[in-house]
């Protein structure tokens, strides 16, 4: 178990290094230098000297590979550099925004599970019933609907027309009334994205388990049907669901980029988009890394969680 954990973390670290490398080099291949964007072209000769000075300050005058090594060294010390546009350290901005993104992701995940699990289970238990057919159509629609559009439609209905919920922003931490009101629409939009896939998977996984011999054994023992389904079948059916849950958290984290833009949610995704618009390398690098590494971390946790759910899985 411990050796598996260490190996899993090592592989995670390797993948994280790959992500860092990919992000670094892809951004530096980008045409258009952020410094020349800061200085208006009509300022002429004097500006070139200033531009060089600024480039030297951010290390942009050094060869690319040297910049890469320096960047890696800084990352180890949790130094993500400074934003070129605001001159504030990126790591502070990330730390300030991570709770908002995390809160939204978890809320979205809860919404997705609350929709997907019960419907998926009932859908499987009553296969081919009207409820099953309706929920399958809904699952497919959930997979196909563009989340930014769903978000805008919800905002249009519940904020602009009915005035029940605030249209944008974060009202504070989720445990306050203001915070709760603000998170409902973004969380539902985000959760709808993931619920379709989870619902289909719960259903198909449950259908497979329901045919297993050990359920007949359980029934033959005289256990009530409720116990057979919820204690015996569900626990086995959830294993593939949890695998996909790990991947779905990645989808949710990526989805926050869009949802945060729609609802002006002050998280990392919106920060990344602002960085992209402003050609602010350190901001884009920092926020993409923060999201990707969060995702790698989640997947390690999910892998380890298996053993809690399925004692048959060993880590050799």
């Amino acid at each position: 178990m411990i050796s598996y954990l260490i190996r899993r973390i090592l592989i995670g670290g390797f993948v994280a290094l790959g992500v860092v490398t990919l992000v670094f080099f892809s951004l530096h291949l980008a045409p258009g230098d952020p410094i020349s964007m800061l200085i208006p072209p009509e300022t002429g000769g004097a500006a070139t000297a200033i531009a060089d000075q600024i480039r030297a300050k951010y290390g942009l005058d050094k060869p690319l590979f040297t910049q890469y090594v320096i960047y890696l060294g800084n990352l180890v010390r949790l130094d993500f550099g400074r934003s070129i546009n605001t001159d504030r350290p990126v790591v502070t901005a990330l730390a300030a925004r991570y709770p908002a993104t995390l809160e939204l992701t978890i809320a979205g995940l809860i919404v997705a599970l609350v929709i997907a699990l019960p419907i998926g289970i009932v859908s499987a238990v009553r296969q081919n019933s009207l409820l099953d057919n309706v929920s399958r159509v809904f699952a497919l629609a959930g997979i196909s609907i563009p989340s930014f559009w769903l978000g805008l439609l919800l905002m249009l209905l519940f904020s602009l027309r009915l005035g029940w919920l605030p249209a944008s922003g974060r009202g504070g931490p989720v445990w306050t009334w203001e915070g709760l009101q603000h998170i409902i629409l973004p969380a539902v939009t985000l959760g709808a994205m993931a619920s379709g896939i989870l619902m289909r998977l719960t259903r198909s996984s449950m259908l497979e388990v329901l045919r297993a011999d050990y359920l007949n054994t359980a029934r033959a023992k005289g256990l009530p049907e409720r116990t057979v389904i919820y204690a015996h079948a569900l626990r086995n059916a959830l294993i593939p669901v949890i695998t996909v849950l790990g991947l779905q958290i990645g989808t949710l984290l990526g989805g926050t980029v869009v949802i945060e833009t729609v609802f002006a949610w002050p998280g990392i995704g919106r920060y990344a988009i602002q960085g992209i618009m402003g050609k602010d390398f350190p901001v884009v690098q920092g926020s993409v890394l923060a999201l990707a590494i969060g995702f790698i971390f989640v997947n390690i946790i999910v892998d380890v969680l298996y053993c809690a759910i399925d004692p048959r899985i060993t880590y050799d």
Partner: protein
């Protein structure tokens, strides 16, 4: 006259049987049949956009801004007075072309990686699969956002970004199938009679994974259309004034309170297109009996 059972007739009989079984499945699964019709319809709309559109999709009319749907403007007009119906019709052309080209990019890179890693194994497998792991560890569309923002808004970065986004799916399917097929008798036999490696890869292995590739291409087509819209909505995709659906929703969303139709129809177009491709992909999966991966 005796019944001839030559190889040609046998093949013909097998083809007939195959078609009969496809027809039977289609009759049983009406949804798949409907989705084939709808996908065809979307391709027809994309192909004949100039004939179907009622107005110039990029020409504004300042006397008819944010007009509600009417006989002249079926879907109303946007904030610059452009006809939304015509823009949605032309948008099919943009989305379908980007989707198809991205699919080709994803297939070329993904299948190549899958073939090489699966067939040769060893070091190539290790490096290839770690590369796929890195691609997969980018949450959702972040990778596409990164590439698009690197090369600026435009068609080719978007196509490449979305194509790359499908690479893990295709390389994993291909690699898995290669591993399964590699040790079977017919590949062994081909090798024994001296077939070259490329010949084995293309003539003997690739034809065997046609089913899964077709199913996932259809499903990826839906997700490519969706990702295109995402990127354009975020402002890192296709540049204005191109009539791209995601871009239309983004530029019009400030006016949705007064004129909800400005976001309703372009969004509906994305939704329906993606839904139809997903329906077809699901149907094909059942039809060709491809296991879920």
């Amino acid at each position: 006259m005796t019944r001839s059972t030559g190889p040609l007739q046998q093949t013909a009989a097998r083809d007939r049987r195959a078609w009969r079984s496809i027809r039977r499945t289609l009759r049983k699964s009406k949804l798949t049949a409907v989705s084939i019709v709808l996908v065809t319809a979307i391709f027809v709309i994309a192909l004949f956009a100039p004939q179907i559109a009622t107005h110039n999709p990029t020409k504004g009319n300042f006397r008819a801004m944010l007009a509600s749907p009417s006989a002249d403007h079926l879907f109303g007009t946007d904030e610059l007075g452009r006809d939304i119906f015509s823009r949605v019709v032309y948008g099919a052309r943009i989305s379908i072309s980007i989707g198809l080209l991205a699919l080709i990019v994803g297939l070329l890179i993904g299948v190549t990686i899958g073939l090489l890693t699966g067939y040769f194994g060893g070091m190539i497998d290790l490096i290839g699969m770690r590369f796929i792991d890195v691609l997969l560890s980018f949450p959702g569309i972040l990778l596409a956002i990164l590439i698009s923002s690197t090369f600026g808004a435009g068609l080719f970065p978007v196509i490449f970004a979305i194509g790359l986004y499908s690479v893990p799916t295709f390389s994993r399917i291909t690699r898995g199938s290669v591993l399964a097929v590699k040790e079977t008798g017919f590949v062994e036999a081909a090798r024994a009679i001296g077939a070259s490696t490329p010949r084995i890869l293309f003539r003997h292995i690739l034809v065997n994974i046609f089913g899964p590739i077709l199913v996932y291409s259809t499903l990826r087509m839906g997700s490519a259309v969706l990702t295109t819209a995402f990127l354009s909505f975020l402002g890192v995709g296709v540049a204005p004034p191109t009539p791209e659906w995601g871009l239309m929703v983004n530029t019009a969303r400030n006016f949705m309170r007064e004129a909800p139709h400005v976001i309703l129809f372009p969004g509906m177009a994305i939704f329906v297109t993606v839904l139809v491709f997903n329906l077809l992909g699901d149907g094909l999966r059942d039809l060709l009996d491809v296991k879920q991966q």
